[in-house]
Subunit: 233 residues, 2 copies
């Protein structure tokens, strides 16, 4: 993006600006594309499914979210949409659905998750949108894993150290891994526990739903080693 | 509760057991009343809106949740139900809606919140249900505050210390206070910041929705000074 350029909104963006927000020509909007920071623009023309925006000036430079993936077993429609929104607010860089042995829901509408992530990024002031991957079997994901990325495994068996004690204060790429409703299979958990880049942590004495566990784990990670340790941008 | 006693289910409990869960006489269920621990029982008789349960033996002694209140500005229907469920899973002892200056939603269906809290307590293995208070103006709540209970104030202005640094590691009664969508009014925040039992903490650089902020704050509190520091029950 550069000042004085004009860009065309996509049909869904134009619908949002014109029909949902009821903006007219001249209205100001803030734009981001995940690379060039945030820009002030105004609406030049707007009509059914079309809008053109004149870029004025940069509001903020680009800022990166921490390199934190969320690996999660897919859950049903309402909770998974909610999870995509909240995980975006909590600053994940990628949402990766993984199929585990006890995963009941295997079909994932990746496009809908992406739409949820885009909307949440717009709402929370992020200048990037987390990548949303196609679902993959957990075994396959781990077989292709780059060992430089550590995994915080949410272990609900009660045998893992509490998260505040167990999470190594090591920066660098991480992933939070949360199992399905019903938990990981014992053999799956054994194999994960023996994997060198995996750290098991516990999230307390109560049984958390899969989406709650994911949000709690992301919050703890951000508070302990993520960008919540810094002041606000 | 005592072994060999028989108790009658409420109509809604009977509906849940018979119509939702489709249980028949002889089926085993676990019971709790918030005082006597968890008990194994079996269904003696079940019919339309009625069920009697014969208590067999205690499964677990009573366990207490931490003395942690959630004070939150009411939000609209979907998110507030969700918040009551998730906060229950995260172990709050009371849900207290507070009306702040920028609170847009002032009517709260307390009975519906209670039903959400009961269902979440059943699902997550808690043996108690958080109290759900009637909404009150924040000023009135603070005027009657017992100073022995500390408040963790989620401050989104970017000037508060990060939660992992700012939260005193002091046990004892606490409350997490989360403002409305749109935040606290500056005068409100000034007054809160000067209150001796209030600790301001920040939850990172992104703008969190009110429900996300509440769940993130409760997770951090539990991880840093709550019962997530202990092994699973």
């Amino acid at each position: 993006m550069t000042a004085a350029a004009t860009i065309e909104a996509s049909p869904s963006q134009a619908h949002y600006l014109g029909t949902v927000m009821r903006l007219k020509p001249g209205a100001e909007v803030a734009l981001f594309n995940g690379r060039d920071g945030e820009w002030l623009a105004h609406i030049e023309r707007i009509g059914r499914g079309k809008a053109s925006l004149a870029i004025r000036s940069q509001l903020r430079p680009q800022s990166a979210s921490p390199d934190l993936w969320l690996l999660f077993a897919p859950i049903k429609r309402g909770p998974i949409d909610f999870l995509a929104q909240k995980a975006t607010e909590l600053g994940v860089s990628a949402l990766r659905p993984v199929i585990t042995r006890n995963t009941a829901v295997e079909r994932v509408n990746v496009e809908r998750l992406r739409a949820n992530a885009v909307e949440a990024a717009e709402q929370c002031g992020r200048l990037d949108v987390p990548e949303v991957a196609e679902p993959q079997p957990l075994d396959a994901v781990l077989a292709g894993w780059s060992p430089g990325r550590r995994i915080m495994l949410c272990d609900e068996t009660g045998t893992a150290p509490p998260v505040a004690d167990g999470l190594p204060r090591e920066p660098g790429p991480w992933a939070v891994l949360v199992g399905p409703e019903g938990g990981f299979a014992p053999a799956e958990l054994d194999a994960l526990a023996k994997t060198p880049f995996v750290t098991r942590v516990g999230l307390g004495p109560r049984i958390l739903r899969a989406d709650t566990a994911a949000l709690a784990a992301l919050s703890c990670w951000q508070a302990l080693i993520g960008d919540w340790r810094q002041a606000k941008r």
